[in-house]
């Protein structure tokens, strides 16, 4: 019961803050709200027993939001941030049409999938009692073992990519050598 209440609070927070991020004119507040969205998402991850993913989400996105923040400071001036011009845009304008069509179609697809799927009949859901994680399981061990066996190649590829990015960044930040 309590778990459900907490779940719905988190879901409501995610939806509300995400909506506000889009609607708000004040960019700085929008970015802080974006962090609220991501933090509540981390809360939802806990409910799927992906606690490691939840914490990683917080670690990664704190840094991410901070960097976004600094970009906002760099790329916009304070007058714009403080007095967002009240340009009135009608919701049903012709330039909104493509976006609306795409969103509407996507929504239709989602509805269709929900209606057509028969979750009771799917094999892996039927067998879910035996093969799913329990709240007491130590998920870290599964993660570690899987990363080092089944997903070793993707793991190495990702680490190579990150290494390249690091070296690139270090190279760009270097002082120019005098000729």
């Amino acid at each position: 019961m309590a778990e459900q209440v907490v779940f719905y609070i988190f879901s409501a927070l995610v939806l509300l803050s995400a909506f506000m991020v889009v609607v708000l004119k004040n960019q700085v507040r929008a970015i802080f709200l974006f962090f609220v969205t991501l933090f509540s998402m981390a809360g939802l991850f806990v409910f799927t027993l992906a606690d490691f993913v939840a914490i990683t989400q917080v670690v990664v996105y704190v840094g991410g939001v901070l960097v976004l923040m600094i970009f906002t400071f760099l790329l916009s001036n304070r007058d714009i941030l403080n007095n967002p011009d009240a340009t009135r845009v009608s919701a049903a304008g012709i330039h909104h049409l493509p976006g609306m069509v795409v969103a509407g179609l996507f929504f239709a697809v989602l509805i269709a999938v929900v209606l057509q799927s028969n979750p009771e009949q799917i094999e892996w859901i039927k067998n879910a009692d035996k093969s799913t994680l329990k709240p007491t399981d130590n998920t870290i061990h599964y993660l570690g073992i899987n990363l080092m066996t089944r997903y070793l190649v993707p793991f190495e590829v990702v680490s190579l990519l990150l290494m390249l990015a690091l070296i690139g960044a270090a190279h760009l930040a270097r002082k120019e050598r005098k000729i």
Binding site: R29, L49, I55, V58, V59, M69, P135, T136, I140
Partner: protein
Amino acid sequence: MGLKNFTFFVLRGFYHLTFISQNFGKNSGVFFKFAVTTKIKLNLYIINVLIGGLLFSFTALFALFAVYAERKVSAFIQDRLGPMETGKWGSLQTFADILKMLQKELIVPHVADKLLFAAAPLVIFLSVYMGFAALPWAEDVAPVSLNIGVFYVFAIISVESLGILMAGWGSNNKYSLLGGLRSVAQVVSYEIPAGIALISSVMIAQSLDLHVIGLRQGVASVEAIKFLGIWDVSKTGGVFAWHIFQAPHLIIAYIIYFIASLAECNRAPFDIPEAESELVAGFHTEYTGLRFAFIFLAEYSMMFLVGMLGVILFLGGWNTPLPNIGSVRLADWTSGIGWGFFWTLSKVLLVVGIQMWMRWTLPRLRMDQLMNLCWKVLTPLAFLCMLVSGLWRLMVM
């Protein structure tokens, strides 16, 4: 470990608290007597709230004590007397300060972003306060025993810099914003050596659960532990069983962590975010009254939090420093719930004392020196420690 285990641990911790109070008999406070009479029948949610309240009052009390200690320590280092007028040796000074602060007006600058300005102190304090949730105080006494405890505390600590940037921007003041930006640059950089140093200890412990990590550094350890990888001290315990002596390269890792944690607390010699001589008071220039009190509370709680994390990971947590010598079972005599609290507190207070000593001894680092130290000295050394940890685990243990 999920909600079930969470409540279980809270219960167990609470049970032990009631147990101590029974043993201590007359000296136990009103709270403990209440707990003893109602025992486990208390609703779980009430217990959760009580534990939270206890932790909060602890941080508040600690901040009061630490501010007084800081003023006295700084005074003695600079050959002054410090506060002497209020109470005996000025001992009531911080109570007077907090009383004054509570009465003060909450001034909001006219052009500030009112919402962010008001929210920032809460974000700063909450991020530190939430970190306490995963820290064990003694054997089986932990608010939560998360199986990713180390990672959790590490993540929550970094949220603080978000609050600092919020305060810096919200104040709408050049000094505050500069302070906030500096703090972000510093915290984001120093997280790396701190994290790698923590990982090198976690690799030795083979667990991210702070309670398990603490457990395997004393006589209560299930697996065999070896002093310097040679001498089996599972039954001897004491100082020999601490992580830094199980694997000596962890001494270097601890020093790296300690330096980096100073930077994460924004304390001298890494206090450029609030550098008084350059930025007035940095990100908290505009704050008054209760809001300022919260920022201060967060700063001192943060000192305790990072100190305690280091103590659990490197310095044996709640385990006693006294070893068993033959039939003189010093380690067995000085282990237990009450002793656990005592050792945790005394070790962390010692670390906090060293943090204060550092602050009043060393001059402030310049921004470029700060970054040089982080990226060119601490980070490579931390990586080296991690490598040695791996080799140690494979070859020695």
